[in-house]
Amino acid sequence: MKKIMVGLKRVVDYNVRIRVKPDGSGVITDGVKMSINPFDEIALEEALRIKERGEAEEVIAVSIGPADAQQQLRTGLAMGADRAILVQTDKLVEPLDAARTLLKLIEKESPELVIVGKQAIDDDNGQTGAMLAALWDRPQGTCVSEVTFADGKATVTREVDSGLETIEVDLPAVLTADLRLNEPRYVKLPDIMKAKRKPLETVSLDDLGIALDPQLEIVKTDPPAQRQKGVMVEDVDGLISALKDKGLL
């Protein structure tokens, strides 16, 4: 392979306790720690490992988001990506629009492989990868937990309810990364400095000829209901009678 393209979305860090804006228009991101979506980080790690095995020549990290998403791309570059492209927009980008935008980048870069996370932990849509494969009219391997390459094909293992499923897809293809695909590396500090000198290109949606076409309207964002305080029961008998009291037994 010559090129692998990886999508990195900027999301609220998974350690942050999410707080909803008082007017319910979304979650608070001001002054909140932002990170690469963890599944996207796994996607990048996999791309880097493929490259380090000598099976690819270049890894391109791409993101669609605000100017600040440069920071996530820089982190991607520090991890080892060769260059990065930011499609800059302050608007909310839905999965279909994200897939249309990524397709434009694919047309420009012609990668043999695109890897994205199976979902982003902010809106949990889990659609972008699949939509992209459909628009690109190429095969897809979703929720990948293992992947190998031979003869222009990827052999993909997926964790499904009944066990492990193995499929073969022709390249070029889209893969979406699952949790157990790998454990991403730590960024080494000298690589952070090197990343500053790697190319990071910024383009606008206009440059790509994309007009956002939202399909969804967010009516309201609510925090999850507060969980009721539990009770401790002494023993099994206590548990049984507590369940009976609640009419559950």
Binding site: Q71, A78, V187, K188, L189, K196
Partner: protein, 593 residues
């Protein structure tokens, strides 16, 4: 600094806007507020901020995963080799080494912030990195020749070599200049080194030692040397059993007939004491940053604990006495962070006279950390005392901070003397000026006007308005407190010097009071400056920051008032007599039976 330089009006500000040779604290002793060096509060450059955030994030992840091991390593009194290798792989030994030598080239401020992040997880790990960067190889960075740097910095950056600082000896702790280790120059220009250093942090890990030795006879000058572990006759001793920071390596290092090449001399011959002091001054923000991180960790632990733990049917956080502790911990942390960051900024701007300010940041941050650890322990109480919880380790670990790199006592004396010296110089200049009027009227007159105009300024309050205009309306009262006490300090410094002259050196009670006032002034003004630079919005964070400024200032005002009043009226004689009586008998002589 010569007091005559203190007229700041005709000095051109530097790129950073600072007056690079004007010490703001020493100036306070003359009743002058060098507002250019205090306002606005320094900010980090945007591109360094991005780099720093990535560094913090990466280091944070690395340490988070080791969270469960730190208690074990504390018991084992050692860091396993994998951990050290992890630190090397991450590039953590190169934080402040310039990029051209393979390091990260972080500024002093960014470095201090990194140590604060690591200290939230583990003090021993922070110290391994901190002792390497802040003191172990700082001498090379500040005073090394290009050849010395090229030879060692790349290995120090990668952690192939770990560095240690060897000043203390059994007979030379605070009085470092009393050290006995000797380096004798041979005919061929090489040196022969003999002696023993104690309590060397990283002693058991280091391959690179910065060693201070006497290069002239008894009482003669000191010089600094680079010594490699591989050189024959260099022998690190066994690991010491310590109260805290137990996983950090502390050992003796002895030197027996070690042959040093001529190129091992660091800085000029005979300038070793200066090298040692510059290294320690420059390294204070690392320790200060570490203390701030420790406090942040305590605040997080205590606020969670106080919320969850119930007593008398309420959360601990519902009780006033617990609220007060958590509020105070927060004020202390904010104040320490404000002053440490301010000093780091002086260093990064190339300021040449920041040693008094650095000493203040070290005293304040280390003592604030100790108070905070103690209160965190008190909130967790019985649980806090148990080893399954982190509190007792934090208490043990933080106790060292007021002892090493200059004890609180020594640094207080240093702060007071540095400030008083300038006042003394000004007085001397005035006297000389008066004598000189007859020999050299023009020069003499100049000196005289300088000092008298400054005194006049104080008495008539002209030029007092140096803090008030720099803070928002809501902090005017606080600003007035610092303006007032800066003048009070200068007035009393003048009185003290006229009364005691040179003998002030023996008046330690007075010097401590003077130092404490200087500490409150500089820390307080740093807090004020920081809050004044925040965006004034209606956020809770801003509102609470104003609260911190008020709380700190009110406490500082009480302390300053008390300290200054007691300069002239006190029970110091009773104190001295009592101590002498007890020390003479070496025991407590009373009983109730």
């Amino acid at each position: 600094m010569n007091a005559a330089v203190l007229d700041t009006t005709d000095q051109a500000p530097s790129e950073s806007g600072l007056l690079l040779d004007a010490s703001p604290v020493k100036s306070l002793f003359l009743g002058q507020v060098i507002h250019q060096n205090l306002f606005p509060y320094p900010t980090i450059k945007e591109d360094e901020k991005e780099t720093l955030e990535m560094v913090l994030d990466s280091f944070d992840r690395f340490l988070s995963e080791k969270q469960d091991s730190f208690a074990q390593w504390d018991e084992d009194a050692a860091q396993p080799e994998e951990f050290l290798q992890g630190l090397r792989d991450m590039g953590l030994f190169g934080l402040i080494i310039p990029e051209e030598y393979g390091g990260l080239g972080l500024s002093n401020a960014a470095y201090s912030r990194v140590l604060s992040q690591s200290s939230m997880h583990d003090s021993s790990g922070s110290l391994t990195i901190g002792a390497h960067s802040s003191i172990g190889m700082k001498g090379l960075l500040l005073f090394g020749t290009d050849e010395q740097k090229a030879m060692y910095l790349p290995k120090l950056a990668s952690g192939e070599m770990i560095a240690a600082f060897c000043l203390t000896e059994s007979g030379a702790g605070s009085d470092a200049a009393a050290l006995k280790t000797k380096a004798v120059k041979n005919d061929d220009g090489t040196w022969t080194l003999n002696g023993e250093k104690i309590w060397v942090t990283n002693g058991g890990l280091a391959d690179f030692f910065t060693v201070f030795a006497r290069t002239e006879g008894e009482g003669g000058k000191l010089s600094a040397f680079i010594v490699e572990k591989g050189w024959e006759g260099v022998m690190p001793g066994p690991t010491e059993h310590k109260m805290g920071i137990r996983a950090s390596s502390t050992t003796t290092v002895s030197f027996s007939d070690v042959k040093l090449p001529a190129t091992a001399l660091l800085g000029s011959e005979g300038k070793g004491f200066k090298v040692a002091m510059e290294v320690l001054n420059n390294g204070r923000t690392g320790l200060g940053g570490g203390a701030v991180g420790g406090m942040k960790a305590c605040i997080a632990l205590s606020s969670q604990y106080a919320k969850e733990r119930k007593a008398f049917g309420q959360s601990l956080s519902d009780f006033g006495l617990i609220k007060k502790k958590i509020a105070q911990m927060t004020v202390d942390c904010f104040a320490a962070e404000s002053v440490v960051w301010m000093v780091a900024h002086y260093i990064d701007s190339g300021h040449s006279d920041y040693s008094t300010e650095a000493a203040i940041s070290k005293v304040f941050a280390s003592e604030a950390m100790w108070r905070t650890a103690n209160e965190a322990m008190q909130i967790a109480a019985g649980n806090g005392y148990m080893r399954e919880y982190p509190y007792e380790r934090i208490v043990r670990d933080s106790r060292i901070l007021t002892i090493f790199e200059g004890t609180s006592e020594i640094l207080r004396l240093f702060i007071a003397l540095s400030g008083l010296k300038d006042v003394g110089d000004a007085l001397k200049d005035m006297k000389k000026g008066v004598e000189g009027i007859f020999n050299n009227p023009i020069k003499g007159f100049g000196v005289l006007t300088d000092y008298t105009s400054r005194r006049l300024t104080q008495m008539t309050s002209v030029g007092r308005d140096r803090i008030v205009p720099n803070v928002p309306e809501s902090l005017q009262n606080e600003a007035l407190v610092y303006e007032k006490y800066a003048l009070e300090l200068s007035r009393l410094a003048d009185v003290l010097l006229r009364r005691y002259g040179k003998n002030i050196i023996g008046k330690q009670y007075s010097m401590q009071r003077v130092a404490d006032v200087a500490i409150d002034l500089f820390v307080g003004i740093s807090v004020l400056s920081r809050v004044a630079s925040m965006e004034a919005d209606d956020s809770a964070k801003y509102k609470q920051a104003l609260g911190i400024a008020r709380l700190f200032t009110q406490d500082a005002k009480r302390r300053m008032n008390q300290n200054l009043r007691r300069l002239l009226k006190n029970e110091d004689e009773d104190m001295t007599e009592l101590c002498d009586f007890i020390v003479d008998g070496e025991a407590y002589p009373w009983d109730v039976i």
